[in-house]
Amino acid sequence: MSNTYFALHLLLTGDSALWDIVRLSILVSLSATLLALMLGLPFGALIALSRFPARDPVIIVLNALMGLPPVVVGLGVYLALSRSGPLGSWGLLFTPPAMIIAQTILVTPIIAALTRQTIEDLWREYREEFAAMNVGVCRRVVALIWDARFSLVTSMLAGFGRAAAEVGAIIIVGGNIQGFTRTMTTSIALETSKGNLPLAIGLGLVLMSIVLLINALAWGVRRAGERFAA
């Protein structure tokens, strides 16, 4: 197990190569989550508050998309961003932006679906009062999102957790290039395949700590929210 302590030692002494990997992992997943929030939140809120013919099928599909297999998304984005693909001229394949794009696609349905559920439940609760107070559409949407903020933040943390833990999409579109597109999850995959198990375990411990931290945050947010929800 000495290599595991070596890995932790590198971490604590601020070894730049290792910290670059951690930093890239967080940056990619965080960016993807924030983008997913900007796309998924309004979309989910819109679905929650509108009535249209195909509403039920749309919701079913949205919920199903939460389970998009990462490798499938990775393959799709790879084909799209390849030089011989439709978006090849962007030159994004094998770069961090490609990884962000892939993870955004994975996380957006999660945020949209959870937002829809949360907003719809809250709307059902507030509906009559809003009618009696003659609340306009804009104010309605803002109020629902604001009052649901704790649940929405929890959804965001769930999305981030999903992004931080996945490897299938980013290894395909990022290429796992050392010092450039190598993240914690892709490093673990690589070190394992090289038989470098102790180092992989060390990285795994770091990743688990982050996952634990996120869950602790989510729990804290939920507790804070209880203050208002009772």
Binding site: L27, R83, Q178, T192, S193, K194, G195, L197
Partner: protein, 283 residues
């Protein structure tokens, strides 16, 4: 709501921070002096790139980004124009690549050799022979577990050639003992270690491999186990985005006397892994 603007503000700040923290390294690494090289997982696993790329950067100024895939996949990446240079070890596939016009010239660079790895107890009783063909026949007759990369990599193609040279049509004659896993060299070695199987590996990856427990080299030295590496610039006429100047500079370095010397100097556990042979016309 007084608190609403501050919540939005906090959110926006967080977002800006994330964007900034990301943008800074990206802008720092100037896009100009980088190339993408599609190579193989065995080459990466051998540690050659960890050793060589910093030297390349110092001597040519080029930052090389290596995508490590199976040989077949690496060549396909070249065909799609997603790499500037391909650096693999499967001559037949490379010549096909050339014939298709995907590159204009192939440069031999170096060779390493394959070794047959097996369990220390050697249940198929092949150790001691230098004849890989006989060894494979014994494995097949005794139906001892054999792991194949199964990923169209150079190693996989070499393995298929070896079965052919042993007079075995492996596609028809394989059984449950033949396990095709479709993964890289490290994964195949892990699998062999975990299940007591035989596996063909390049020597470089084997020496560099960290999980050797229960495995050892059982057959080596047969001329048929020779593993030749070639490097090619992806044809810029077919893919205008290819950085031909930088790519060619990289190739020129690899085949130069200095580059060849640097390659030969790479050692693991006191053993030289790669033998430079750019000057060998038959390579």
């Amino acid at each position: 709501m007084k608190t609403l603007p501050s919540f939005v503000r906090g959110f926006a700040t967080l977002f800006m921070l994330a964007l900034a923290a990301y943008a800074i390294p990206l802008s720092a690494s100037a896009d100009d002096q980088t190339i993408v090289v599609a190579s193989t997982t065995s080459t990466q696993d051998s540690g050659l790139f960890d050793y060589l790329l910093p030297i390349v950067k110092t001597k040519t100024g080029i930052t090389v980004r290596v995508i490590a895939q199976g040989t077949g996949q690496a060549l396909d990446t070249g065909r799609r124009g997603d790499a500037d240079v391909v650096f693999v070890h499967a001559k037949a596939a490379e010549l096909k690549f050339l014939a298709e016009g995907e590159s204009l010239k192939r440069y031999p660079v170096m060779y390493n050799d394959f070794v047959l790895i097996g369990p220390t107890e050697d249940p198929a009783g092949v150790s001691g022979t230098m004849d890989i063909g006989k060894a494979l026949q014994k494995i097949k007759e005794r139906q001892v577990s054999f792991v194949s990369r199964g990923d169209r990599s150079g190693t996989h193609l070499a393995e298929l050639d070896l079965w052919k040279s042993a007079g075995i049509a492996i596609d028809q004659e394989k059984g449950a003992w033949y396990k095709s896993i479709g993964q890289g060299m490290g994964a195949a070695l892990n699998f062999a270690a975990a299940s007591g199987a035989y596996v063909l590996s390049d020597r470089a990856t084997w020496i560099h491999f960290g999980n050797k427990g229960g495995l050892r080299i059982v057959v080596e030295g047969d001329k048929r186990l020779f593993n030749q590496y070639g490097v090619m610039l992806v044809n810029p006429a077919k893919h205008p985005n290819v950085k031909s100047v930088l790519g060619q500079r990289f190739i020129d370095y690899l085949v130069s006397p200095e580059g060849q010397r640097d390659i030969g100097r790479y050692q693991v556990d006191g053993q030289q892994l790669f033998h430079p042979d750019a000057s060998d016309p038959a390579a």
